[in-house]
């Protein structure tokens, strides 16, 4: 399976040979650069994904902390609701969400792409699970030492969970990076589009120009693969420590 996944990209450089290209050529890449504003899209993707991931983490930490450490009226119900948001397929709510964006006049802006997705059920859920594991005694002793709520959050919760945070950040970044349908619906100008659009760029009615398509696909996944490569250690560790329950 794996070898196929890797080879499928390379084999298409020059039509199909069993695994390897018959003729090696960079034509496809050249075509991508010539015919699409590839670097503009790359930049747009970076902006959108970084901001979105960052926002999701901040909100995730805050919300998860509230769920994990406070007893408050309606906690169960609200948490149940967060789980529901995770379950609902994004495409099922896309149309009314589009109408909301339109109401705010955010069509064709990055606000429209980013803000609706800032609150993310997955980030909240995983962080809550991790926070639940941190012994309450630690927190109590911190408070005896005079820490306020935010200092507690920082010292007791955030510092030990750096690996989990990185893990969640990578997962979210990858998802945001690969999100295709929502940006495509909200954005209109080619200059504003994000990278996944590049992959379908060379697809005409019933005729796919495979070489540039796969070149674009390869280049668009490169950033996430690199990030994953570097973050991998934290990542597994993060899950390890999060003691998924």
């Amino acid at each position: 399976m794996l070898s196929i996944s890797l080879s499928s990209f390379s084999s298409v450089f020059e039509r199909i040979a069993f695994l390897f290209p018959v003729q090696f050529s960079l034509e496809g890449y050249v075509q991508v650069f010539e015919q699409t504003p590839f670097f503009t899209w790359l930049r747009n993707s970076l902006i959108v994904s970084v901001l979105l991931t960052f926002g999701q983490l901040i909100l995730g930490v805050m919300t998860a902390y509230a769920f994990a450490r406070y007893q408050f009226f309606g906690r169960e119900v609200v948490f149940f609701f967060v789980l529901c948001t995770m379950m609902i397929p994004p495409q099922a709510i896309m149309l009314p969400a589009y109408l909301v964006i339109n109401f705010f006049d955010w069509i064709n802006t990055y606000k429209g792409v980013i803000i609706p997705h800032l609150a993310n059920g997955y980030a909240i859920f995983v962080l809550r699970q991790f926070f639940l594991q941190i012994p309450k005694e630690l927190e109590e002793s911190a408070q005896i030492d005079g820490c306020n709520d935010f200092q507690t959050l920082y010292h007791i919760y955030l510092r030990p969970s750096i690996n989990v945070l990185i893990g969640v950040a990578v997962i979210q970044f990858v998802n945001n990076w690969n999100d295709y349908y929502w940006p495509l619906l909200v954005l209109m100008d080619q200059q504003k589009m994000t990278l996944p659009v590049a992959i379908v760029q060379f697809r005409n009615e019933a005729f796919v120009e495979w070489v540039p398509t796969m070149a674009a696909a390869t280049m668009s996944i490169l950033p996430v693969v690199i990030i994953y490569m570097f973050a991998q250690r934290y990542f597994t560790e993060g899950f390890l420590r999060s003691g998924i329950k």
């Binding site: 919300t63 609902i88 909301v100 609706p116 693969v225 329950k245």
Partner: protein, 289 residues
Amino acid sequence: MKNTFSTAYFFLTPALVLYAIFFVFPFFFSIYISFSDWNLISNEKTFVGLENYIHVFKDVVFWKAVKNTITYVLVTVPISVLLGLIYAVLIESAGRARNIYRFLFFIPVVLSVAATSLSFSLMYSPQSGLINQFLHFIGIDGPSWLQQQNTALLSIMIVGIWQSFGYNVILYIAGLKRVDKELYEAAEIDGASKWNQFVHITFPMLSPVHLFVFVVTMIYSFQVFSTVQIMTMGGPNNSTNVLVFYVYQEAFQFFSTGYASAAASILFIIVLILTIIQVNLIKSKVHYQ
């Protein structure tokens, strides 16, 4: 100090406000539209009562989509979870090459669905595709994977499993690391075989992980959409149409906002039920521990 309502809600407010605007409101708005006949562009919305729901329930395609979604979830979830477990155990006993394997298995998870789906539809090609070329090479006449009724959904499921099980591998590896090594040492002394160790130590010790992996995979499977949209458009004759694709198609291809919203509302109800089941599962596990 701790149990204050106000501080808690200070932390919660930003997320809740966002959820309210971009989730709760669209949710109810969608339910509202589901009782009307509206084509999005015109300003007129006529109230039609349950007509949209009746249409959806009478639609053969809707039931095909329900059936396909259930089949998809029932097949992909167990396989993906099981493969995750098997590979996690194998990788953890692989010695030094562990890191490379971990990395490789996770690659499908990071790939964009668009890239994956396009690559697979190339590989599934009956003549020039890699899969059939290989089958041809060993003397088998391969099917038209995506165009035949008996293989189309299967092909989509294979892609779904391929995409998701790497994530499960990582989760299981994380779980395996938490299992107390002394247990194995003790078992070793008692002369338990590797298989017995797995059955009596590894598997039961992983029970919280099983649950989490199961829930996550289920959520993921239930939302299957992009592979269908890119590879088959629900065909042939809706044999790969799934619920989310059905909603999408009604909304964005047929512009039937009312039907689409009715179908979406039905989907919401299913989601609600599934979530209740999952929450109860998680709860019972937590008590059990």
